[in-house]
């Protein structure tokens, strides 16, 4: 499986993602420029990553402009054909704006940017320590959509404490039902606010990010 990492002009986690995938996970990575459209070098077994950052400055709603970039049209087609797509932080926001994932990401409940380690867990995993860094990470969707997400096992990660207890107390942004990451119904598009690429290195003393890529089947 090879990876494409999209570079928007305001992406700032693109190089971190490249570094983590190449050097810590040993993957082949191709950087993709937002003005280009060609992704014919990828098959649906491959994965396109939308990294964190401030794609086009995000002075409008986060990700609202990125959705219209030439590269995103190709990524949307790729996803609709079943290709794997992962969006992290700003990438998650872009996936929601593009309607590849349901719901929206609102400003954090406490109205401040927050960067720190948090714990998240998948249904059958232990708690994993992963950093967050966002001002607009409060996942929100209507009750009906949320119920569907639950029914279809589309909720990938929820905020918890280090023992894996899921509770609003450990939710850093007020996300509904403590949601930190979701996937689409088909299971090929993934979005999450925490940054697994910031936790794949021994020198940083946190390898839990590798387990996230494993859970997503992207290892």
């Amino acid at each position: 499986m090879k990876f494409g990492v999209v570079v928007f002009p305001g992406s700032n986690c693109d190089r971190d993602m490249q570094d983590a995938l190449q050097n810590d996970l040993g993957k082949e990575v191709i950087m993709l420029w937002h003005k280009d459209e060609d992704i014919s070098m990828f098959s649906t077994d491959d994965c396109i990553v939308l990294p964190g950052g401030f794609s086009y400055g995000d002075y409008l709603r986060c990700g609202a402009i990125a959705r219209f970039s030439p590269m995103m049209q190709s990524v949307i087609d790729f996803a609709n054909k079943g290709g794997k797509v992962l969006g992290v932080c700003n990438g998650f926001q872009i996936l929601c704006e593009s309607h590849l994932l349901p719901g929206v990401l609102l400003q954090n409940g406490h109205q401040q940017f927050a960067c720190k380690n948090v714990f998240i867990k998948a249904d059958n995993s232990q708690a994993l320590k992963i950093p967050i860094a966002h001002g607009d990470g409060r996942y929100y969707a209507g009750e009906k959509v949320l119920d569907e997400l639950e029914t279809n096992n589309q909720i990938l990660f929820r905020y918890c404490n280090e023992l894996g207890v899921v509770d609003m107390k450990y939710n850093p942004n007020g996300a509904v039902r403590n949601i930190a990451g979701i996937r689409n119904k088909q299971g090929n598009v993934f979005g999450m606010m925490p940054h697994p690429e910031r936790a794949t290195s021994k020198l940083l003393n946190n390898m839990d990010g590798k387990k996230i890529f494993e859970i997503l089947g992207l290892n």
Binding site: P9, G10, N12, C13, R15, D16, D19, A20, K35, G52, G53, F54, Y56, G57, D58, Y59, H110, Q111, Q112, F113, A114, C115, K116, N117, P131, A133, G135, K169, Y170, N171, P172, H195, E197, R198, S201, L203, L204, N205, N206
Partner: protein
């Protein structure tokens, strides 16, 4: 318009300076030319009242690759062909008036100084000073400054990895916002701030120019008064997304062979960048100001010259290679216009629609050229006699164990000491995936310099109350503490950038503080072999009631060649033995305890001995390399007890202190801030070895006790658990802020 001395004075030039300008030009300048001199001869650009003393600092040697002040930032050799580029700069005056934009553009400005050189910034730090946190204005300033730093830095994508925040009444009107950035590059690819080669085109790139920030440099060179808010247009507005694109475009450009020189536009905008680049290359320039992209119609020549609109660069390009430059900036959707060319006459000619607006010899405008350099008078401040009169015996010592514990509880919650997490959580401290201090805390922030195989240890330090008490020794202590923090992180200190924040230099008592502080700083930098690579002077941090504490902030960089030598500050395991290295003193001078708990404003600086300090640091460095110790954390504000508690917080480990304190005042032993002390832990079986080495090296030490699973015990008294102390430490600042504001809860 007739130009008279009155016009000059309105532009904040003196009558003597006006006379000098007329002499140099051989005529009376027109208004545009006078504006150019006003910007360039402002304190901010010309260093006219500081340069004589700055030259006494150690400004070369060691690993320095460019001389101090010669380029936009300092460049030092990291080995293997790599260089580290770093600088600190103030944005105090704008932040006092408009904290959000003031701080944001401070962060933006210092980043440009780094990537103008061709380096990629990898870490930012901020050294901040505010008034009393219980004051509503302080909370407004704090919230605005922190939001501004976060807004700019988070989007720009460089992690904010460290810094310091102090709250003292003297900063009520004049907060200090000092921003530092550190970058890495292949040393041989450094881009100089030079223009040369007659006929080479001059490009203007980045944001369009507006009327924001006009006169910013001269605004920063005056006291802050009631009327200062009327200077609001002198505060710039930042756009971090634009700067992020500018960064990537400039670094892409740096990989080509098209650039002769590049300089960012900061203080005094176009006039400063054209003058400095020309003077450095010994050339002149012909500039067509009407070709500068503007965001407002009908801007006048003087407005274009002085505007401090952000995110702009001036580039001197090799003739014939213009197309390459245009293509890169088009790729990044940034304005890029050829606005002039290099000439051979040394004169800056500015045209507007074909009309000559100004003609000034570049050399006459710049520091080291025609800009005036003053020798200022100084006299010993009267308050120093109050400090000399301080007698420790007049302060009643702590009488019993209950008072000791109660005092420790108060100390841990003083805003200067308590956790700053309310602030730091708002900064992206991890972008870049290189900040190793997130999960492994140490006294300096340790950041991986990816691609070089090495890491950097970075810190900013200055306890300004020590400098107030003894300007010379206080500045030495700032250097010593910075070095100590780097040594305790396992790295070797290599160089300094300084941000000298003082009051009005025309006040002889303020100037005394400046002279003594620079002298002390120079002595200490020589001792630690950390030359001063550059920095910034900020005078006029003064309001009608007086000046701020003299605050010579030290930004220091250390190098960690082998990551195996990395040292962290936290207790590792219950049962490890706690040893204090360095001498305990019967000293409470200028401590947080004395100032904040006992309310003593005037007291002597803490104990400090430069030679002992250096010897102690060399020793700590050697035992880290020998892998003898488990942790190292220096003693600073709040004294020994704060150091011990901070060592416990990361892993929820407590301590049992059984050391004999006979012969010491209780307050001095636990809360004194004597310098030159580091608390280490060592595995029980290695204790003997450590003590033997300490004895051999003739270094004072005290075996304090042992690390415990959770309980804090002091002289057989139960002080509860470490988690109870941590809760107090973590939430103290949030409690004060949330008392009056809407509660903001970070889980």
């Amino acid at each position: 318009m007739e130009i008279t001395v009155k016009t000059a004075e309105e532009l904040r030039l003196t009558a003597e300076e006006f006379e000098l300008i007329q002499q140099k030009l051989g005529r009376t300048p027109n208004f545009t030319e006078l504006c150019a001199f006003s910007g360039m001869w402002s304190e901010h650009c010309s260093y006219k009242n500081s340069i004589k003393w700055l030259k006494t600092l150690p400004r070369n040697g060691g690993r320095m690759l460019v001389a101090a002040g010669e380029e936009n930032a300092g460049l030092m050799d990291m080995g293997n062909g790599f260089g580290v580029v770093f600088k600190i700069e103030s944005h105090n005056h704008p932040s006092a008036i408009e904290p959000f934009q003031g701080a944001a553009t401070g962060v933006g400005g210092i980043q440009r100084d780094i990537f103008t050189m061709g380096a990629r910034p990898i870490a930012s730090l901020n050294s901040l000073r505010f008034g009393n946190l219980n004051d509503v204005k302080t909370r407004w300033l704090l919230a605005g400054v922190v939001h501004g730093i976060g807004h700019y830095g988070n989007c720009f994508g460089v992690p904010t990895v460290g810094g310091e925040i102090y709250f003292e009444d003297c900063y009520h009107t004049n907060p200090l916002v000092n921003a530092m950035s550190v970058g890495i590059m292949e040393a041989k690819k450094m881009i100089s701030a030079t223009a040369k080669g007659v006929g080479n085109p001059i490009f203007f790139v980045g944001s369009a120019t507006g009327k924001d920030g006009i006169g910013g440099a001269s605004f920063a060179s005056a006291n802050i008064t009631e009327e200062s808010t009327e200077d609001l247009p002198a505060v710039q507005v930042g756009d971090p997304f634009q700067e992020k694109k500018l960064l990537e475009a400039c670094l892409e450009l740096a990989e080509t062979d098209t650039i002769i020189g590049m300089q960012d536009m900061g203080a005094a905008g176009i006039i400063c960048s054209t003058a400095e680049m020309s003077a450095k290359g010994g050339v002149g320039m012909r500039i067509d100001l009407d070709k500068v992209p503007t965001r407002q119609k009908n801007m006048k020549a003087w407005e274009l010259l002085l505007s401090e609109s952000q995110e702009r660069m001036l580039i001197c390009v090799q003739k014939g290679k213009e197309a390459i430059v245009l293509k890169i900036f088009e790729k990044w959707d940034l304005p890029c216009s050829e606005i002039g060319e290099v000439t051979d006459d040394g004169i800056l000619h500015f045209y507007m629609n074909g009309e000559l607006e100004a003609a000034i010899p570049a050399e006459e405008l710049v520091l080291g050229g025609g800009a005036p350099q003053y020798t200022r008078e100084y006299t010993e401040p009267k308050y120093l006699s109050l400090i000399a009169d301080f007698k420790m015996l007049d302060v009643e010592d702590i009488v019993n164990e209950v008072e000791l514990k109660n005092t420790a509880e108060k100390i841990i919650q003083i805003p200067n000491i308590a956790s700053k997490r309310w602030v730091t959580v708002q900064y992206d401290s991890m972008v870049g995936a290189a900040n190793t201090s997130t999960n492994s805390p140490s006294d300096a922030s340790v950041v991986l310099a990816k691609g070089t195989g090495k890491a950097l240890a970075i810190t900013t330090d200055c306890n300004s109350r020590y400098v107030f008490a003894d300007p010379q020794k206080g500045a030495m202590m700032a250097v010593a503490e910075a070095a100590r923090n780097i040594v305790c992180s396992g790295a070797e200190p290599i160089g300094v950038t300084n941000c000298l924040n003082f009051g009005n230099p025309y006040n002889p008592e303020v100037y005394y503080q400046f002279v003594k502080a620079v002298t002390g700083m120079g002595e200490a930098c020589k001792k630690f072999n950390t030359p001063v690579t550059g920095g910034n002077v900020s005078f006029y941090n003064q309001h009608p009631e007086g000046a701020v504490y003299p605050t010579p902030t030290i930004g220091m960089v250390g190098i960690l060649d082998d990551f195996e030598n990395r040292m962290t500050l936290d207790f590792k395991e219950a049962g490890d033995v706690i040893v204090l290295i360095g001498a305990q003193q019967n000293d409470i001078g200028s401590s947080e305890y004395l100032h904040k708990i006992k309310g003593v404003e005037y007291s002597t600086a803490p104990y400090f001995n430069l030679d002992e300090e250096y010897q102690m640091q060399q020793f700590v460095s050697s035992i880290i390399k020998q892998k003898l110790i488990q942790s190292a954390h220096d003693i600073s504000e709040g004294g020994l007890i704060v150091t011990l508690l901070e060592k416990g917080f990361n892993r929820d480990l407590g301590f049992d202190i059984t050391a004999d304190t006979t012969g010491y005042r209780k307050d001095a032993f636990w809360f004194g801030e004597a310098q030159g002390r580091v608390v280490v832990t060592v595995k029980k079986q290695d204790t003997k070895n450590l003590i033997a080495k300490l004895t051999d090296a003739a270094i004072n030490y005290t075996v304090l006790g042992t690390v415990t699973a959770l309980a804090v015990t002091v002289n057989n008294h139960n002080w509860g658990t470490i988690t109870e102390w941590k809760e107090k430490y973590d939430t103290a600042i949030e409690k004060i802020i949330n008392k009056q504001n809407e509660p903001i809860i970070h889980n």
